[in-house]
């Protein structure tokens, strides 16, 4: 259970990016967070694992208050939170296996990490998960030799290696083509139910959000203004969340006429 209370994030003296935000994610639900660029979706996820320092408020994960942790305690908390990134953020020059095993860096002592001498149980788990997502045969390939979809699978496996209590996915499909993007979303949904994991997904593509998640949270200017099941996301609600954002950017079919006009000038 993730419980966020009165969360505020302010960069310097600018207007707050997150304003008194409250959110509860119980059990094993897959939650999509939608909203225009700059709504604070990414900041919200990064506050949870403290890649970004929250200004005030409270974030509680299964009884641990995350906002006050520091040093070793923070690292112990972070290893319980898996994160998947838009740009994959794999270590490009290392092998797929090393990338996958880097999900264990919060667990193993430094000498094991340095000598790449991970416990047998970690290696077994790595192969098991890589087989589950279909990348086991790439174990010794360099991460940057893989295609986008395969790389994101490595990213997913790396996060799962942490044996996380929650999964944060920051635009996991935004760098992928539509077909691969759907495969990754499907994978996230399946893994969430197999591993009984709550998953928080920032996503631009509203169609995918509706299709693959059970709950949609709409953000605008640092506040949650919509929180319900996908079927409640009506056109009016969409217009409110995305006021001023053209339809094409939401992953809906745009009007080809307007583009033709610009090109023909």
């Amino acid at each position: 259970m993730l419980r966020i209370k009165d969360l505020v994030k302010r960069y310097g003296k600018d207007e707050a990016v997150l304003k008194d935000l409250n959110l509860e994610v119980p059990g094993e639900s897959v939650v999509a967070i939608i909203g225009a660029s700059g709504a604070g979706k990414s900041t919200l996820l990064r506050c949870i694992n403290r890649l970004v320092e929250p200004t005030s408020g409270s974030i509680d994960l299964n009884g641990t208050e995350l906002t006050t942790l520091s040093g070793g305690d923070l690292r112990l908390a972070r290893r319980r939170i898996g994160m998947i990134f838009q740009g994959f953020n794999l270590i490009n020059r290392l092998t797929v296996m090393e990338n996958v095993l880097s999900g264990r860096l919060g667990y193993v002592p430094a000498w094991r990490a340095m000598t790449r001498n991970f416990p047998q149980s970690d290696i077994d788990r790595a192969f098991q998960l890589m087989e589950r997502v279909g990348i086991a045969h790439y174990a010794n390939k360099r991460a940057d030799e893989l295609s986008g979809g395969e790389r994101q699978r490595v990213g997913v496996v790396r996060a799962l290696m942490q044996e996380p209590e929650i999964l944060l996915a920051d635009e996991p499909t935004a760098s992928l083509d539509p077909k691969t993007s759907r495969q990754i979303m499907e994978l996230l949904r399946a893994l969430a139910s197999e591993l009984h994991l709550p998953v928080l997904i920032n996503i631009h593509n509203v169609t995918e959000a509706k299709e693959y998640t059970q709950r949609i949270v709409g953000m605008r200017f640092g506040r949650i203004i919509f929180d319900s099941v996908p079927t409640d996301l009506t056109q009016d609600a969409m217009d409110e969340i995305y006021a001023g954002v053209p339809a094409e950017e939401r992953g809906e079919t745009g009007d080809p006429e307007s583009l033709r006009e610009v090109v023909s000038q």
Binding site: N49, L51, G72, R75, L76, A77, R78, R79, I81, G82, M83, F85, G87, N89, L90, I91, N92, R93, L94, S102, G103, R104, L105, G106, Y107, A110, A113, M114, G155, R158, A159, Q162, E261, Q265
Partner: protein, 270 residues
């Protein structure tokens, strides 16, 4: 829809904007540079008589140097072996010291105070030419290869640590975030997220520095820091100009070879 291009009639000219926008500053700089060059050339003390006297002396030296003569070949070999030893030891020591200094001097990784310390070390290491450093070390530890090794170690730090620090500042921060998010500590994050990204540059810099140290070891040898430079200086002192020319040619040959090898290796680093 009518665009603004169609509405406007007549020619519109375009010129590349000048490099310095303000005309007053632009002309002040141009005239200032010209005036300085004229002043500098006219005020330098060229003594034509002395230059005339010197020319026959130069001809005599060159005549004495031809044909080059390898009278004491074993000295040349010894000198080179010593130079290579100096270069290798100094490169190893310099590179090993450079890595932590580079991490300290990278603004995206080091806290402000550590950054200032790291940059300070680099600036000091870079501020003196190796010959000046060599003179200091020859005074401090005496003639011989140890002075050369210490000199070139400092020279290596100045270059390798600076370039490596700049590479660290350019890394993809996403990889650092990923390892942090997995719960990696500071040291582990450096090891997994930073080192792999800077490795090719590190190898390239080390090879370049080895090559560069080999060249510099010939120069610092002239002030007494050992190696082939010392052999060359001794040949000059004994007026063995033919031997000196032979050594010079050997130095050119060795440097060409080392540059070719180092260039090839650096090109092939993936």
């Amino acid at each position: 829809m009518t665009s603004s291009v169609e509405k406007t009639t007549g020619h519109r000219t375009w010129k590349k904007p000048p490099f310095i926008a303000n005309p007053a500053i632009r002309w002040a700089i141009i005239l200032g540079v010209l005036a300085y060059v004229v002043w500098a050339v006219t005020s330098l003390p060229f003594n034509w008589e002395r230059i005339q006297e010197g020319i026959p002396r130069a001809i005599r030296i060159f005549k004495g140097a031809f044909p080059p003569d390898m009278i004491r070949g074993e000295l040349v070999l010894q000198g080179f072996l010593e130079s290579i030893k100096i270069a290798i030891v100094a490169t190893l020591a310099g590179v090993m010291l450079s890595v932590p200094i580079a991490f300290a001097a990278a603004s995206n990784i080091a806290p402000k105070w550590l950054y200032n310390v790291g940059r300070g070390i680099i600036i000091i290491a870079r501020s003196f030419h190796p010959v000046i450093v060599a003179i200091l070390f020859v005074k401090a530890v005496g003639f011989g290869p140890l002075a050369g090794i210490l000199t070139l170690t400092i020279y290596s730090i100045g270059f390798v640590a600076k370039m490596l620090a700049e590479r660290i500042e350019e890394i993809d921060w996403g990889q650092v975030e990923a390892i942090r998010a997995a719960g990696g500590g500071t040291f582990i994050t450096m090891l997994y997220a930073v080192i792999p990204q800077i490795m090719p540059r590190q190898i390239g810099l080390s090879i370049y520095q080895l090559d560069s140290n080999l060249r510099a070891s010939a120069v610092v040898g002239i002030v007494g820091a050992g190696g082939i430079g010392s052999t060359l200086m001794n040949a000059f002192r004994r007026y063995d100009y033919d031997f000196a020319l032979a050594i010079t040619l050997c130095i050119i040959g060795v440097i060409l070879i080392s540059e070719a090898i180092s260039g090839r290796i650096r090109r092939n680093i993936w």
